[in-house]
Subunit: 387 residues, 2 copies
């Protein structure tokens, strides 16, 4: 395997930080960019990470001390065209892993300003990367994080990005229709279309990863708590599963929204990182745009809650489930059968089940119970899709 | 027919101005918004309208003098959330005709700044309208101008927005796949997805018009030259047909790009305005999102050039065709068969053929030949898709 120069956009985030450490442990040379917007945006709605997150300088120092590896870090904002261009011109990476976007559906639904902020931030940041690649890193592989939520929940199987159709007796291979369910999910669809176009006209190469919901907290590189990644549990930044875990730990009922039949694809944090590593190490051809659906198992919201109750019992937690009104507009019972063959065909084998991850996550959250207790007021939903 | 309160976003533009006069002549109450960006953006690339366009104050005065009608005008920028909200709160229109976007593919392709400007301007302006409608005009009908270019040129028929598919034995009705061919066309696709979502979650009503290329210059309400609409003929703001007309008038070869088999849908300005009028007068149901493909005839670029040569001869012009390298990335020979049944089903009958419009356009351009001659340096292409 050849050593890759990899730049991670959004290296301070939930995925970015553990991915950086893992790629380094695989022997790659890693640099990263962040504007710390996630920290600010979580603060804005009154939340904080259940795990205490060190300032970037201390994170980098702690990682260097434990591993001997030095990550080059650039503080700045991808929406500043000149900054993004400068970083890419200086690094000339083989691969950019683009995690540098605002990733919350509820945050984008707060009001018009949060909608516009999410969409312009994500679109302009991605456009700036594409234009900078074209100018300074034409052979670079853009590994872009999209979301399974781009597809919505159609009543047919979901292929990986494209499908062959016959329509009125003629055939073509076309992008599979997208039905995103929030201003945030829409921004990811906008990105997808922009990236397809850039690959087509400029011959750039990209893997657009439609990722399921990631769960879990600990990776092998987190050898001490200074190296932990964040774990958000509030209504805006926490996933349903994170909220259930936090609720179980502080003795609050778990609160699935509506009927709880909403079904999504899930993947463990360690498996997600393994997938991104495999993808980076197996780049597309020049000019190729490809889509990987990256998830392992599908669960309904109710099933998630049951798993948390059951694993919670092993740690002495007595959790109850209490369904509440759904603040979102989404189908609560539906067909869901997305393909996910392309990553396994490159050698990916999921090894971390939901229960296995919960057995690592819950005790760590119990250790930080006070931090959850302190911010328990922001777990229940206040952002409503219908306004 | 009931009288409608109609607000036109982009009332200073090629379509907005003649539409305003026509809607008033149909008895509706018309107001309008513009930030004059089109005037500035055409100036920026060194062009101007072949027809001299009066400042808005003088246009409004000239129209009032000739018709007795008063149009309420708001100068401002739709990307300013407060401004857009104020206008919609004050007008509480029955219908918003949203033409207030940057409409040029080549302009969006100049560089990263023009790409980001086009996309953020169009997306944020539309989002601001949607949020303001939700707050102040829940029953308002958003008549939004998209483009046939959202679909690209697939190898199958193009339905009006949605299609029923069977995929692996299961069925659903889904948005027809979009394959836009420039940053500008992408912005229109982004809008489309955002509007579908707003209608779904808030029950807003919208007609998303996928309009073909509009041709022609004169409408019945233009009773004197102070009331003319603009006619751009430069490489950035002029359509292929407009460029051919201008070239014929000044004795320059007509310059189709590449093989010239690129085929698009076309509609006469007077027919386009009639379509928008019919659409406004036949609104969708509450919460309905519908798509109309709005064009009349399809022509290849080579066919357009031949029509200009032939009609030009009637006015003593001796035009030649001289194909040049295609600056764009597009299929130059392809299948093209889009549906356009929904507007005829509401009573639309196209009455103005390409040749009939050319017979009205060319003499008016001959009258302003000096203005074309003055700016002939910006007709030939310099903006290239591959950069």
């Amino acid at each position: 395997m050849s050593v890759l120069k990899i730049t991670i956009m959004g290296i301070d985030g939930y995925l970015g930080w553990p991915l950086a450490m893992h790629l380094f442990s695989r022997g790659h040379e890693v640099s990263g960019v962040d504007n710390f917007s996630r920290r600010r945006n979580v603060e804005e709605i009154g939340g904080h990470s259940a795990t205490p997150i060190k300032p970037m300088k201390m994170r980098l120092k702690a990682y260097e001390k434990s591993s001997g590896n030095k990550i080059r870090f650039y503080q700045g904002d991808l929406i500043k065209t000149g900054f993004t261009e400068d970083v890419i011109a200086k690094e000339r990476p083989d691969c950019i892993v683009h995690l540098g976007e605002i990733p919350s559906a509820p945050y984008s639904m707060i009001d018009v300003d949060h909608c516009n902020y999410t969409q312009t931030n994500n679109i302009v940041g991605t456009n700036n990367i594409l234009f900078a690649m074209r100018k300074h890193a034409q052979k670079c592989h853009l590994l872009k994080l999209g979301t399974m939520g781009e597809y919505g929940t159609p009543n047919v199987d979901i292929p990986e990005g494209f499908f062959e159709i016959e329509y009125r007796g003629r055939k073509d291979k076309l992008p599979f229709p997208r039905q995103p369910g929030s201003w945030y999910h829409l921004s990811k669809v906008h990105d997808t279309f922009n990236i397809i176009f850039a690959c087509k006209i400029w011959g750039l190469a990209s893997t657009d990863i439609m990722q399921g919901v990631v769960h879990g907290l600990m990776t092998d590189e987190m050898v001490n708590d200074d190296l932990l990644t964040r774990f958000d549990f509030d209504e805006v930044w926490g996933t349903a599963l994170n909220r259930f875990c936090a609720q179980a730990v502080i003795g609050h009922e778990l609160t699935p929204y509506g009927k709880g039949g909403q079904t999504r694809g899930f993947i463990a944090l360690r498996d997600s990182i393994e997938c991104m590593t495999i993808t980076a190490e197996n780049p597309p051809a020049d000019g190729e745009y490809r889509v990987f659906n990256q998830f392992d198992e599908t669960y309904s919201v109710n099933e998630l809650a049951k798993h948390v109750v059951s694993v919670g019992e092993e740690f002495g937690l007595d959790a109850k489930i209490w369904s509440i009104e759904n603040p979102r507009v989404e189908k609560e019972e539906h067909y869901y059968n997305p393909d996910h063959e392309r990553l396994p065909s490159l050698g990916f084998k999921p090894v971390h089940s939901l229960d296995a991850e919960l057995r690592r996550t819950i005790p760590k959250l119990i250790q930080y119970r006070d931090r959850i207790e302190e911010k328990k007021g922001v777990i229940m939903p206040s952002v409503k899709w219908r306004g």
